[in-house]
């Protein structure tokens, strides 16, 4: 199978003459002669995958994806579908950003390194912590990395990481996989009315605890009111206080550094990515004390031979390609391009825009809850708390029945209990919100 332009890879630019000259220079008749594969394990069959033209392939993917229903999503829990300014798509798609690799040669990679340095700086401002890395895969893997960090930096031996009982299944399960190779075990503390049950938490925290994890806002969209107290109970036990959040929430909510957080994790892709079936960008920031134990890549400032400021990957002795089994993490390829998009989206918003986007999340959740509460048999929000972006509503009839009926009318909502729906107002337009309120009042008895 030699392949020509017609039948081979469309991205291999060889001419027949060029290929023949290369074969001659190497001293073989065909490229197949270069494969040093024993006959017993050679593959001489076909995969049965038809080649297609670009046009046919586009049509194929389009026709498959058209099976997705076009629903208005009132789903949140970490993915919000905020409007992404066109600038982000157009500039992030510039091929130098898209087609470069990790910046192992910093002299030809200044643009990406600077963009990542600016992303790190964004997180430092949002969290108030000293350092941020330039990405983990998503919030769940960042939480796993926070636990293994806690295991490394804590002086005394301890075996428990404490998480809220409402933690999303994907996060909890990922965390359990990350700690499976350590002596750590995942344990929960109860929540009350959506927030941490402070008294119960304080009882659970002991010297065996290496990490206490809390979220703000919580998975139910409530704003956590006892962050400083949670942090104190963790600190008293010499455990790390790890806080889960996201860039939009951090624009207005209490600064993690001010409530004693040692590490902040979360999903930064709430800015810069559409709802990409859960594709994310793990935010990871921490206090400077853990600099040599931080997982993932760090971009630092230095100088070049002309004494001008220049950027480079730094402290790579923590990383797997240098330290191998003693590395702080196995992460190599991360979410750099998503970090670029997040930084770009944040830059288009600026300080005022970021705060207003977060404020809008508070106001719209309140407004939608009020509209739904006006419907007979509905309690919204269920939790007597402040909310950001989303809230839980209680119904008299089975929630799944209402969700199904809403889906038929073009709206996706989240069932979180037999009689409870979770609703998120962040990623939809005013018009869509009006349509939803109307549909809701029609399907709720």
């Amino acid at each position: 199978m030699h392949g020509s332009h017609e039948t081979g890879s469309p991205y291999a630019p060889h001419t027949d003459d060029g290929r023949d000259a290369m074969l001659e220079a190497v001293g073989v008749e065909t490229a197949a002669d270069l494969f040093d594969i024993p006959a017993a394990v050679a593959f001489d069959d076909e995969f049965g995958i038809d080649a297609r033209t670009e046009r046919e392939t586009r049509r194929l993917v389009r026709s498959i994806l058209e099976r997705n229903d076009d629903l208005t999503e009132l789903l949140g829990r970490g993915h919000y579908g905020y409007y992404i300014p066109s600038l982000v798509d157009h500039l992030a798609d510039r091929s130098e950003f898209l087609t470069s690799y990790t910046q192992y040669q910093p002299e030809v990679s200044q643009g990406f390194l600077q963009a990542l340095f600016e992303y790190q700086s964004l997180l430092v401002e949002l969290t108030g912590l000293d350092i941020a890395n330039c990405s983990m895969y998503d919030a769940a893997t960042a939480l796993g990395e926070a636990a293994t960090l806690a295991d490394r930096v804590r002086d005394t031996s301890g075996h428990r990481v404490l998480v809220p009982d409402l933690l999303r299944e994907g996060r909890r399960s990922t965390l359990e996989n990350y700690v499976a190779g350590t002596d750590l075990a995942v344990d929960t503390y109860p929540t009350v009315d959506g927030n941490a049950d402070l008294e119960a938490l304080e009882e659970r925290v002991d010297e065996d605890t290496v990490m206490v994890y809390a979220e703000n806002p919580t998975v139910r969209g409530t704003i956590e009111e006892n962050l400083s107290a949670i942090g104190e109970s963790a600190t008293d036990a010499e455990a790390l206080f790890v806080l889960g959040s996201d860039p939009v929430a951090l624009s207005v909510l209490q600064r993690p550094a001010d409530v004693g957080a040692d590490v902040v994790i979360g999903d930064a892709s709430v800015l810069g990515l559409p709802t990409s079936y859960g594709m994310g960008l793990g935010l990871f920031a921490c206090r400077e004390d853990y600099l040599r134990q931080v997982p993932g890549r760090l971009v630092g400032a230095s100088e070049d031979a002309t004494d001008r400021r220049a950027f480079t990957l730094t402290l790579q002795t923590r990383e797997q390609h240098i330290r191998r089994e003693r590395a702080t993490s196995n992460i190599c390829t991360n979410q750099a391009w998503v970090a670029l998009r997040t930084a770009m989206h944040a830059a288009t918003l600026g300080s005022t825009g970021m705060v207003e986007l977060a404020n809008r999340g508070v106001r719209r959740a309140d407004e939608l809850a009020q509209r739904l509460e006006a419907v007979d048999g509905v309690t919204a929000p269920v939790h007597d708390r402040h909310h950001l972006r989303e809230f839980v509503a209680r119904l008299n009839q089975p929630a799944q029945e209402v969700a199904d009926a809403l889906e038929e009318r073009g709206f996706a909502v989240h069932v979180v209990g037999e009689h409870e729906l979770q609703l998120c107002a962040a990623g939809v337009t005013d018009e869509q919100l009006d349509e939803f309120a109307t549909a809701f009042s029609e399907v709720v008895r």
């Binding site: 594969i37 049965g48 991360n334 998503v338």
Partner: protein
């Protein structure tokens, strides 16, 4: 490039190649940081405007005790941002800029149309949507699982791991769960060749395993005697890539597989070098039990400056029940009409999640489109030309290539020169250098992988750059690079005095 410059009679003269990367200098700095263009502090809630240097005040609907006092970020206009990011992009070398033979990274061309299909509005779905409402997403995932299974010779595939190293972690966790399930939880060692990717070691350690390092034999392959000595009833797995990082095919793979299986261990395939095998050999046929695929390498999804990638994992039938949850399958009840429907399910003995949701979906779409575009003929052609290109390029170099016969990549030695200096000088010739100083088996290693996307003319230009540098004296190399945005960067001071944010830079002044 004109025809006459590409003929054998008139080889490319590296001295005639002039490359200059964009460089913006303002106030003695390259493109200023956003924070140096503007920083606007906004006071939040009841805080008085002007306090804490705040230029503006924004009311908050939340009580003061739940909010921060202020936020300080740049506020720039869209045109200013467009110029900033355009300038930054011009100060980056990508695969669309020129040759990028970074060994083991498989920097192949990223087709443009795959960006368009991943950007289809119908691709933007929330991960908590009902399965019924995202049949398109589930079908595409199902089809990609099927494609990858065929290509790797594997019985089942999960698409959840968001990168190659994450795929390794799944492989190790699945192996652990399998052994545990069989009452063999005592197996606590993973064997890894010394020349393996660093992620293998880190992954095994993250999985709680002791690493047993395996030396190479004189011809650069697995030393079977050393392997025999390393294997025991404590062996959980052997992690191997084939071809290995020297580009050499492990010819004894059947025997290796037998030896590992004989002691009850599993054979793990690191898919980093799969591009060399497309349509020629399959890990499943070689006796591998579990493997990961690096879609950003083999299946041409963009590397994106270091991600996102995707690292699907394939396994043989015995390991299928342990794969991460959830997976996609055809629904038994296809409902009304003829169309097949798809559903998510949790494997019987699943290890659970390794990602909050389903990995890097937008990347998976691109990989699917790439495979569907190439088909059997295109995939086999890619591996043939990747191997031809590596062999041709090596044949044109003045540097010594100690180990052969290699496949898609080779490791040259810079000899008396410092490989890192060679790399810096190559940048001046408008090409990205190979991976340097690794694997350590070869002194001053230049690990080179041109991939199938380069023509003979480009390979000649690349060889000319290598050879020009081979003849240059130390002084030139130490002063390189000269034509890139930044000149040689001081790595030591970056690590000694870490400044990792614009806030840290400001504190420093």
């Amino acid at each position: 490039m004109s025809d006459e410059r590409t003929t054998e009679e008139t080889p490319i003269d590296a001295s005639q190649v002039r490359y200059d990367q964009a460089r913006y200098v303002e106030n003695g700095q390259y493109e200023p940081l956003l924070s140096e263009k503007d920083l606007t502090r906004v006071a939040i809630g009841d805080a008085d405007a002007g306090e804490d240097g705040a230029a503006k005040r924004v009311d908050s609907p939340l009580p003061d005790d739940l909010t921060r006092d202020s936020l300080e970020l740049p506020e720039l206009s869209e045109p200013e941002l467009a110029r900033h990011y355009t300038r930054l992009s011009q100060m980056i070398y990508g695969i669309d800029s020129g040759p990028y033979p970074l060994g083991s990274c498989t920097m192949k061309y990223n087709p443009k149309f795959t960006e368009d299909v991943a950007a289809l509005p119908s691709a933007a779905v929330h991960p908590d949507r009902s399965g019924q409402s995202i049949q398109g997403t589930l079908e595409l995932l199902y089809r990609l699982q099927d494609y990858l299974g065929r290509i790797g010779g594997m019985d089942a595939v999960t698409l959840q791991p968001p990168a190659g190293a994450a795929g390794e972690f799944v492989g190790i966790r699945v192996a652990a769960a399998y052994h545990e399930h069989n009452g063999e939880g005592h197996r606590d060692e993973v064997i890894i060749p010394e020349s393996a990717h660093g992620t293998n070691f880190a992954t095994a350690a993250l999985g709680g395993y002791d690493v047993v390092s395996l030396p190479s034999d004189d011809d650069g392959r697995v030393d079977l005697e050393a392997l025999e000595a390393a294997l025991s009833e404590n062996t959980a797995a052997l992690m191997l890539t084939n071809p290995n990082t020297l580009g050499l095919f492990e010819r004894d793979i059947e025997e290796i597989a037998e030896m590992v299986h004989d002691v009850g261990g599993l054979l793990y395939y690191d898919g980093a070098n799969l591009n060399a095998l497309l349509g020629r050999a399959r890990p499943g046929d070689m006796g591998f039990d579990v493997m990961h695929y690096n879609v950003h390498k083999t299946f041409a999804t963009p590397h994106g400056g270091g991600g996102p990638g995707a690292g699907p994992v394939g396994v043989v039938e015995d390991l299928d029940p342990f794969l991460p949850a959830p997976r996609v399958r055809e629904a038994e009840d296809t409902g009304e009409g003829d169309e097949v429907t798809y559903e998510l399910f949790d494997p019987d003995h699943t290890i659970g999640h390794v990602h909050g949701y389903q990995g890097n979906w937008l990347v998976l779409i691109k990989a699917f489109a790439y495979i569907a575009r190439l088909g059997d003929a295109g995939l086999a052609d890619a591996s043939a030309k990747a191997v031809l290109n590596a062999n041709y390029l090596a044949s044109q170099l003045e540097y010594d290539v100690p180990y052969e016969p290699f496949h898609h990549e080779f490791v040259a030695s810079a000899g008396d020169q410092d490989a890192a200096d060679v790399a810096k000088r190559m940048l001046d010739y408008g090409v990205h250098p190979p991976t340097t100083k690794w694997p350590e088996i070869v002194p001053e290693a230049l690990m080179t992988e041109p991939t199938e996307i380069e023509s003979k003319e480009t390979l000649d230009r690349l060889a000319a750059a290598f050879n020009a540098v081979a003849e240059e004296g130390d002084g030139t190399l130490e002063d390189a690079p000269e034509r890139t945005t930044a000149r040689r960067i001081d790595q030591t001071s970056a690590a000694r005095n870490p400044r990792l944010s614009w806030q840290a830079l400001a504190d420093d002044e």
